[in-house]
Symmetry: D2
Subunit: 147 residues, 4 copies
């Protein structure tokens, strides 16, 4: 088992927290939440984080897209149905035209997974630098230990 | 865009190759194969690789399980429906009780993703060392540049 | 558009009600909840109904299974992400060894779908008659207009 | 078990046939293809049928949509991973602005399900009558016993 930065397992370090329900369809023949299903649960938490974040002026304009370039999930314990999963989301590294979303998943107060995603900003002209408005917003949402 | 080992993009280095069909359900509102759906396509290719591998004596016994501990997917280009996706699978690092499956996905002769998965062997007594039979089998399936 | 029994669109007639979250993965290229995804949402509501119902002595014993024999979904309006969907569940016809679960889905107070499922009881000896305990429980949960 | 028109179980009566791969993700805790997953497999076969059908002039124009109004699936036997599923598709009833797609699913030469779907034509002005070109095309693809 690799060791993880303990800060990643402390919910208090995450700017955004949301419960995601588990579904019967998340289960696989081993009777636990399938690993791809957990990636889908992380995605759902991430999308809701993005929705809330972009209620501000950070919202993408027409022709702009945020594409997922990389997703790494570390599975820490088996997750089950039907208890909900609590997702914590925060911003990690911020580059010129990409940024990281760092997430943790808890079920019944026990960490079950970590997810690091990299999003890339794409304007109608292709990959572009992040706007100043978006960058400022992202800064406010960084994992607490990175601020 | 991070740079990748060019050996990972050469299908000839992968011990196992299999086409996986795309499904309408893999599409998301952006009209392309969703990133979680591509993780599911990689999983499907990996499971079929494991099935073929374990037609030999490497098969898990009753009470043994192979658990997914880590999955990293790098998205290289957008994938679409309905063309199939060609998955290449090979073994990467082999540890005491875990091993890596390295995968690549091509669609219409263009690389669309890379996937690195770590599997952990679990006997009925918990995590255990990989059996000699499984280790010998895994060695024969390593990515060509790692042999 | 076929016409439906108005009683099926009145939540007050359903013995069990539960909210099911929508997920980003439920969306398809038309930007709405995919029809198969809504079937999955109905399934999830149905499984939670069964779980609550079987907290009583109606629970299946070892070797028994409840198999889905038929599912009919009528799509009444487009459903969207991220609002939750409210599912109403009740029992319909009760046969010798099968029974119906009748469900309705509302989103933002508007009916979006109806689902009629038929479950078949299977003991370790194959299809069997429903136990008296299960039958009595099912009777208490019938759609109000059928009692 | 309800009885079905034997003509529905004869592949020779279906105008279109296509194999759909099963995926590991189709499996549920009972170890068989989940009922919603089979609905997704039917959808995938139906979409490919529509794609092939509309290579002719029956293709929807900009602003037009084909919406799914009703899906009924009857489950005849358990289906498993990893064998592929053979889907037969044909047109059933043709109305003023809707039509039926009738499908059957076989796995290892054994019927595992029947699916009846109703599609509704929607122009940019809302629900509209089916065009003469589409109607003529649909007629040529009816279930053999309905011609």
């Amino acid at each position: 088992m690799p060791s993880f930065d303990p800060a990643r397992l402390d919910l208090a370090n995450y700017a955004h927290q949301i419960f995601v329900e588990t579904r019967f369809q998340d289960l696989d023949p081993l009777g636990h939440i399938n690993n791809v299903a957990l990636a889908g649960i992380f995605e759902n938490g991430r999308v809701r984080f993005n929705h809330e974040m972009t209620h501000s002026t950070a919202r993408p304009s027409a022709g702009e897209r945020w594409l997922v370039a990389r997703v790494e999930v570390n599975y820490l314990a088996e997750a089950h149905f039907p208890a909900p999963i609590l997702i914590g989301n925060a911003i990690g590294q911020i580059g010129n035209r990409s940024w990281q979303i760092l997430s943790v998943a808890f079920q019944n107060d026990r960490p079950v997974g970590l997810c690091d995603s990299t999003l890339v900003y794409q304007s109608s002209q292709g990959k572009s630098a992040i706007s100043d408005i978006l960058r400022a917003k992202l800064e406010t949402l960084r994992l607490r230990t990175l601020r």
